[in-house]
């Protein structure tokens, strides 16, 4: 890209500059659109309840305070106790889902990528089709199923359902990775006497670590942000995950906007940090399946 732009420099400056300025204005607009709500969330979260409810608003908080954060993260008072428990529940459910999703998706994706068993295409698309259906369709029957299995009001019900909506995406992402690992590596291993399973476990799996990381991030973020199943399957207050917990809590305290914004911020921190740290894998994985290099 850099070399191309150097070559282009002497030619057709005017036309290119016009487009480049359009691009810059567009980017500025998109950045404002994206960032203003997030900045406003942060600014509101460090205001007092009184300062947030003013007109015209305090564009910059005159007396910044961390009171909302202290309230949410203090295990001594009841709000903090609830919030920390929701946080822990979310973490537990998301981590369990992630581990299970990777364990189940890795062999399946490998098989879809490498083996040529009859019905492979059908099964693969059947798995993908799951992504098309909204949670709502499955809610009532799954609710009954969970009642039969005795899983209502347990985190097991969430892990099982999150697994199903995480799996298709995980399999699809991982298949993209396996497709791009040269098969010659396994063939060489087979010639050297490895069994097919050994070749998969010892040769291919280490190479697909970036794909596994990406898949894990997606499963984690999906589970962390899930709302509708958690809202339906869990009724006991001490079981709730963050999205549902926050909703329940703030349907009772409708005017505590600094608290709500602080809670939204804390809820976003784990996933945003995860995304920023592992960005490379994250972006690559999503596009591997859709774009062939």
């Amino acid at each position: 890209m850099t070399s191309a732009s150097q070559i282009s420099r002497p030619r057709s400056r005017k036309g290119v500059d016009g487009w480049r300025w359009t691009g810059r204005f567009f980017l500025v607009f998109m950045i404002l659109y994206t960032a203003i709500p997030m900045v406003w969330m942060l600014l509101t979260s460090i205001k007092s309840g009184f300062a947030a409810m003013q007109f015209p608003p305090q564009w910059w908080p005159s007396e910044p305070t961390l009171a909302s954060y202290q309230k949410l993260l203090d295990p001594q008072n009841s709000v903090g106790q609830d919030f920390l428990r929701f946080f822990w529940n979310s973490l537990f459910v998301s981590v369990c889902t992630t581990i299970l999703a990777v364990l189940v998706a890795v062999p399946a994706a490998y098989a879809f990528s490498r083996f040529r068993f009859p019905g492979r295409r059908f099964l693969f698309f059947a798995v993908l089709l799951r992504n098309m259906f909204p949670a709502v369709i499955f809610l009532v029957p799954l609710f009954i199923l969970m009642r039969v299995l005795g899983l209502v009001n347990t985190h097991g019900s969430l892990i099982l359902t999150y697994l199903t909506f995480g799996l298709p995406l995980a399999i699809w992402l991982l298949k993209g990775f396996y497709d791009n690992i040269p098969i010659q590596l396994e063939q060489a291993a087979r010639i050297d006497g490895a069994t097919r399973f050994q070749a998969f476990l010892l040769i291919v799996t280490p190479l697909s670590v970036p794909g596994i990381i990406a898949t894990a991030i997606y499963s984690f973020i999906g589970a962390w942000n899930e709302y509708i199943y958690a809202a339906t399957f869990l009724t006991k207050n001490d079981q709730l995950t963050l999205p549902v917990g926050i909703q329940r809590f703030f349907s009772e305290n409708t005017t505590d906007f600094p608290g709500l914004m602080a809670a939204s911020f804390i809820m976003s921190v784990p996933v945003v940090v995860l995304f920023l740290v592992l960005q490379k894998y994250f972006v690559r994985a999503l596009t591997e399946g859709a774009v062939k290099h």
Binding site: S12, A105, L145, T164, D179, S264, T287
Partner: protein
């Protein structure tokens, strides 16, 4: 490409004699073990619910969901849906919501990808900022925007008043005319990054030599975009638009948290309506019938989705 090589390498024995399907399945029985866990989970949590929903849609089930007391009512649930006025209102909302969200998110995403394609200082930072809305929870996004739209202390209204565009704080989400567009803005905010990522990857596949050759031949920036970049992006664009359309058709959290479908159904879309019918009003049969209709619509969308994906796969194998 590698898959074709793998085909020849791993299962050459299949081509010696043409074996029957059962023989083939038997030879590759070990292959199924790899996909078995995934298939079992899928069957339990997908096939069973689908069967159940269809079954439930022909019955009237009491509010407490006591399945023993359900009464067979034939297609009554379906006729009552199609003859209700709310159904048409909700359907119109869903169409507006899906089409507007999908197209605008796609255009903004594609535009951002093009604007970020050329390398410049700070590009990685800008890209990261633009992707964040897609990562954070939709519940958090709903609350952030609900606060932005607040009818007394919301930022957007306050800015409009300060700039002298309006006299008093407008009420964005308690107004039957502005509620749907306001929610679409939120939805696009969360979704355009997905289109952006996909299109950024797509742009990498446009051959640089071709663009350079066109430039040497005197093609303008627009001509290069229109005749070279765009045709190369057709495959990615189809997949992206389909995925966006399905996601938008299925969205629930943003309208549910922000308005609950109100005021007077102005922001109800199919999914929120089904949820309210089932878990709010406990009309299980009607909700199930709605789900079956939704299912049929999605299956036809899914047909195009699979076709687009297989087209991609064929192209890859042909290459």
């Amino acid at each position: 490409m590698t898959t074709v090589a793998g085909h020849a390498g791993l299962s050459r024995k299949h081509f010696v004699v043409q074996p029957s399907l059962l023989q083939q399945m038997w030879t590759s029985r070990a292959d199924y073990l790899y996909v078995l866990p995934a298939i079992v989970v899928m069957l339990v949590v997908i096939a069973y619910p689908i069967y159940y929903t269809i079954d439930l849609s022909f019955f009237k089930t009491p509010p407490g969901l006591q399945l023993r007391d359900k009464i067979f009512v034939g297609v009554d649930n379906y006729t009552s849906i199609l003859s209700s006025e709310v159904f048409w209102r909700v359907t119109l909302n869903t169409v507006i919501w899906t089409v507007a969200s999908t197209l605008i998110a796609f255009v903004l995403g594609f535009g951002s990808a093009l604007a970020l394609h050329r390398d410049f200082a700070g590009r990685a930072v800008l890209r990261a900022i633009l992707i964040i809305p897609w990562v954070i929870s939709a519940v958090a996004a709903s609350y952030i925007w609900k606060w932005m739209y607040h009818s007394d202390f919301g930022l957007i209204g306050a800015v409009l008043v300060q700039l002298g565009i309006v006299d008093t704080q407008p009420n964005f989400i308690d107004n039957i005319y502005s509620v749907l567009p306001s929610l679409i803005v939120v939805n696009i905010w969360r979704e355009f990054p997905f289109a952006m990522i996909m299109m950024m990857a797509g742009l990498q596949t446009v051959p640089e030599q071709l663009l350079r050759a066109a430039r040497v031949d005197g093609a303008s920036a627009w001509q290069r975009f229109w005749h070279i970049t765009l045709p190369h992006m057709a495959g990615v664009s189809t997949v992206t638009i389909l995925l966006l359309a399905v996601a938008n058709f299925n969205s629930f959290i943003i309208p549910w948290i922000m308005t609950g479908g109100g005021p007077s159904n102005a922001s109800h879309i199919w999914i929120t309506h089904i949820y309210e019918l089932a878990f709010g009003r406990q009309r299980w049969g009607v909700a199930a019938a709605y789900s079956v209709l939704l299912f049929i619509i999605l299956m036809s969308l899914g047909y195009f989705y699979v076709r687009a994906l297989s087209a991609n796969e064929k192209k890859e194998q042909g290459a």
